[in-house]
């Protein structure tokens, strides 16, 4: 089971700035165990953020995004109190959605 994301969304000027931390191993599939066997790839490959039913950012990721990934972006058209929701999906089909109110 994965840890909840930390989503921080705040109004900066006339924009909303979103900062997200996700708990995920982001295993590249290139590393080996002590016994020489390959550790299978396990990484978030899709991230979608939305606010008021509209996608405000989407991303395709590869295994070269760092472990416990960080993402930040800015968008317009939302105000304090609106909810920002972020969903990630990984290459094993696991998914997680969390949301936070804009501060």
């Amino acid at each position: 089971m994965s840890d909840p994301m930390r989503i921080r969304a705040s109004v900066v000027g006339d924009k909303v700035e979103v900062k997200v931390l996700m708990a995920h191993p982001m295993e590249s599939g290139l590393r080996k165990n002590a016994d020489g066997s390959i550790i299978p790839a396990h990484f978030i490959d899709r991230v979608v953020a939305s606010c008021k039913g509209k996608t405000v950012l989407a991303a395709d990721w590869g295994p070269a995004v760092s472990k416990n990934p960080y993402l930040s972006f800015r968008f317009s058209g939302a105000a304090k109190g609106d909810m920002v929701s972020v969903t990630w999906t990984d290459n094993k089909g696991d998914t997680r959605t969390d949301e936070a109110a804009i501060a």
Binding site: R8, K19, L21, A23, P25
Partner: protein, 264 residues
């Protein structure tokens, strides 16, 4: 006037050049900002602290970390210290082990089943609990007591261990940490015998180590330094570990706690 200005400018440049020389990776840390995965350990640690567990089905909220039962905020800034109930000087981690045993009936061996996590599926409860407890002292200034004779003795012992050269490589802590302005490879080395460096080093642990994807505490920091000194395995909460922590914490007196931070 012009001359003074250009002199000032020159000295500013000279200063920044030498800072870059001593700590070439400072920019990298700066750009990382304050979004620190240590958050995940703090969250897990808080849940572990408040969850009724163990044979006694109790939580840890009645643990006395030195400021009285149940007081968490600010406690880390005054550790290690002497505790009358155990008649020992204890650091944060060894004190938590005492509380888990007395309040919850969970043995130290059980608590330390995973002593240090592997950044993945092997998670250390102690790393999570420590991250949580330290985070509640953010902004507090280090103020370590030397009133009790055992506190004084622990400091003196810690100082001796700091300078103790041994093993295949003749290393001691002092080999790398007793002179200012030095680095190992590109890593700036704090002089742990000098106030400013000692403060800066101590107040930034525990830290999320990005190279390991893991939250590391002072107990780990000491254990891994000794590993690289070619010493054997420093035992968690041992007399040497606590004494050395006492030496480092006292030298950091006045430093304002920032941990958990992020390190390389």
């Amino acid at each position: 006037m012009k001359r003074v200005l250009s002199y000032l400018l020159l000295s500013v440049f000279a200063a920044s050049a030498s800072a870059q020389e001593i700590d070439p990776t400072a920019e990298s840390r700066e750009l990382m900002g304050d979004d620190n995965p240590a958050f995940f350990w703090e969250t897990r640690g808080e849940a572990l602290w408040k969850e009724a567990r163990g044979p006694k089905k109790a939580n840890l909220s009645q643990c006395d970390l030195g400021l009285g039962k149940g007081v968490v905020a600010g406690a880390y800034a005054k550790l290690p210290r002497f505790f009358a109930d155990t008649a020992k000087v204890q650091d944060l981690e060894s004190r938590v082990l005492t509380c888990a045993e007395t309040l919850q009936g969970i043995t130290p061996a059980e608590m330390l089943k995973v002593r240090f996590g592997n950044g993945d599926d092997q998670r250390s409860e102690m790393e999570a609990i420590t991250a949580y407890l330290v985070s509640t002292s953010k902004g507090a200034a280090m103020q370590v007591s030397m009133k009790h004779p055992k506190e004084k003795a622990a400091y003196a012992l810690g100082e001796q261990i700091f300078h103790y050269r041994s093993g295949t490589h003749d290393f001691s802590c002092a080999t790398c940490h007793a002179e200012s302005g030095k680095r190992i490879r590109l890593q700036a080395l704090p002089n742990l015998t000098a106030k400013a460096d000692a403060q800066k080093a101590y107040v930034t642990w525990p830290a999320y180590r990005i190279s390991q994807g893991e939250l590391r505490t002072m107990e780990w920091r000491l254990n891994d330094c000794f590993r690289q000194q070619r010493f054997p395995d420093l035992q968690y909460g041992s007399e040497a570990a606590v004494a050395l922590t006492m030496f480092l914490a006292k030298n950091a007196d006045g430093g304002v706690l920032e941990a958990p931070t992020m390190k390389r």
